[in-house]
């Protein structure tokens, strides 16, 4: 059944939505959306390195994104530039370096649009294995750090004072973020993976009154976005990433109606 490219894209998208839901919630709660963007931009550099060294793409992206995260932490300690400026610096310079390197690799044919916006045809059987096994691992680890991560999101010092380890949880979370970007880049693309993390989550916030519920709604929102997005990608021959994100946007707009209702009820 995985011989059909569309089934492969669908199965990949489902696997990705299960992971981007919970991770996306923490990205929004911890105000890391620009950070996620930076990691994703650096993924392009990872792809080019993988191609030039004939290395596994997902592993290469994962390593480069983690390295960028480490560099960011060092820069935050050593310069007085505010975090958003540092993130912008890293995001755009790694994207630029990635594109420059592609320019040099004339002997390889790159589908730049596919890298930036995702390609429904690109997902092979090995990618499915990476997404589902990698995704399951990410969720398992997130389950393990859930409590310290959530507690330190509410209040860092409270978590630390009461015996949790917020620094470790934060470091592990950064690695998980790099990992989801690495496994989902083929389908969603470098420029739009943060949208997959954030938009279904934003929708979920409008429908939830507790963290667990928000995670579940974010997963449902992601799944619906993948279904609607991929079917319209097939139908209208649009790139897969933008189609999924546009579907997520429509769901978000619908969720605003629910917010409006509750506000009216309150008045």
């Amino acid at each position: 059944m995985f011989d059909d490219f569309f089934i492969r894209a669908l199965v990949a998208g489902i696997g990705i939505a299960f992971v981007t839901g919970p991770l996306g919630c923490f990205v929004v709660w911890r105000r890391l959306s620009y950070f996620g963007d930076t990691l994703a931009h650096s993924a392009l550099l990872g792809v080019t390195i993988a191609y030039s060294l004939e290395f596994n793409i997902a592993v290469s992206i994962f390593l480069i994104s983690s390295a960028i995260a480490l560099i960011l932490i060092q820069l935050q300690k050593k310069t007085n530039l505010p975090s958003d400026a540092l993130l912008g610096l890293l995001a755009h310079s790694s994207l630029a370096v990635g594109l420059v390197v592609i320019g040099f690799l004339t002997f390889i044919r790159f589908d730049i649009m596919g890298l930036l916006f995702g390609d429904i045809l690109a997902v092979n059987k090995k990618d499915l294995l990476t997404i589902w096994v990698g995704g399951a691992l990410i969720l398992l680890v997130l389950r393990l750090i859930w409590k310290p991560l959530l507690a330190s999101t509410v209040n860092y010092e409270l978590a630390q004072a009461e015996g949790l380890n917020p620094d470790r949880a934060k470091a592990v979370f950064t690695v998980l973020l790099a990992a989801i970007i690495a496994i989902s880049i083929k389908l969603v693309g470098v420029l739009l993976i943060t949208g997959m993390l954030i938009i279904p989550t934003a929708m979920a916030r409008n429908l939830s009154d507790n963290p667990q519920k928000m995670v579940i709604f974010a997963i449902i929102g992601g799944l619906l976005s993948v279904f609607i997005g991929l079917f319209s990608s097939l139908e209208f021959n649009t790139p897969s990433g933008p189609s999924i994100i546009a579907a997520a946007l429509v769901l978000f707009i619908f969720s605003l109606l629910k917010v409006k209702q509750t506000i009216q009820l309150k008045n």
Partner: protein, 246 residues
Amino acid sequence: MGNNILVKLNNVGFQQNQKWLVQGVSLQVEKGKIVTLIGPNGSGKSTTAKIALGLFKNIEGQVEKFTNNIGYVPQKISIDWTLPLRVRDFMLLTDNLTEDVIDEALSLTGVINLKDKSLGNLSGGEFQRVLLARAISKKPELLVLDEPVQGVDFTGEIALYELIKEISEKLNCGILLISHDLHTVMSATDHVVCLNGHVCCSGSPKEVAKNSEYKALFGEQAAQTLSIYEHKHDHVHTNDGDIKKN
């Protein structure tokens, strides 16, 4: 018996960006006792509490902690709107508690009726009581309460301090309490440490209250006018927190 001591600070200090936030503080908290830190804004009360909690790495002096079962009410806690939390979710933040334990703590602080409410919809007083309930829910040996009555009106303040006193008796835990108003904590505290970058004076609440400087500081109109903080000691404090010898 020395093993009633829960935490002991020995001549501790902490500096940030080459500036001492607090220096030369010694105190200890024992089981069943309430120690109150008072002092003006920026005097290092919160810093001292955080040193006692072990939140800083590079401190001067020694901290000996004899318990790891700690409940903490931080001075500032703001819940971002993007994170939906009900009171019951908040109670489970750092520990896995059973429904019974949660109910017991919320009942003790009188906010059991708020269990399913969103944190964002609570009033200042309700929120402080929820914070307190969360901190005591796992029956800690040491409670650190950083200005636990902020945003609460005067009568509410007295009620909350009475509650804190009741908690210390019920749980037999030691409490390190931070307050900017000694008068309302008077009846509830065993030992007072008056801070202003260092320990200015300390003793039982009566001793501290008798102190003539103290009266000038925290006298009748003291509650409102903490800014005119002066001490009769051999030094004055400049506006940037430095200490100048007379």
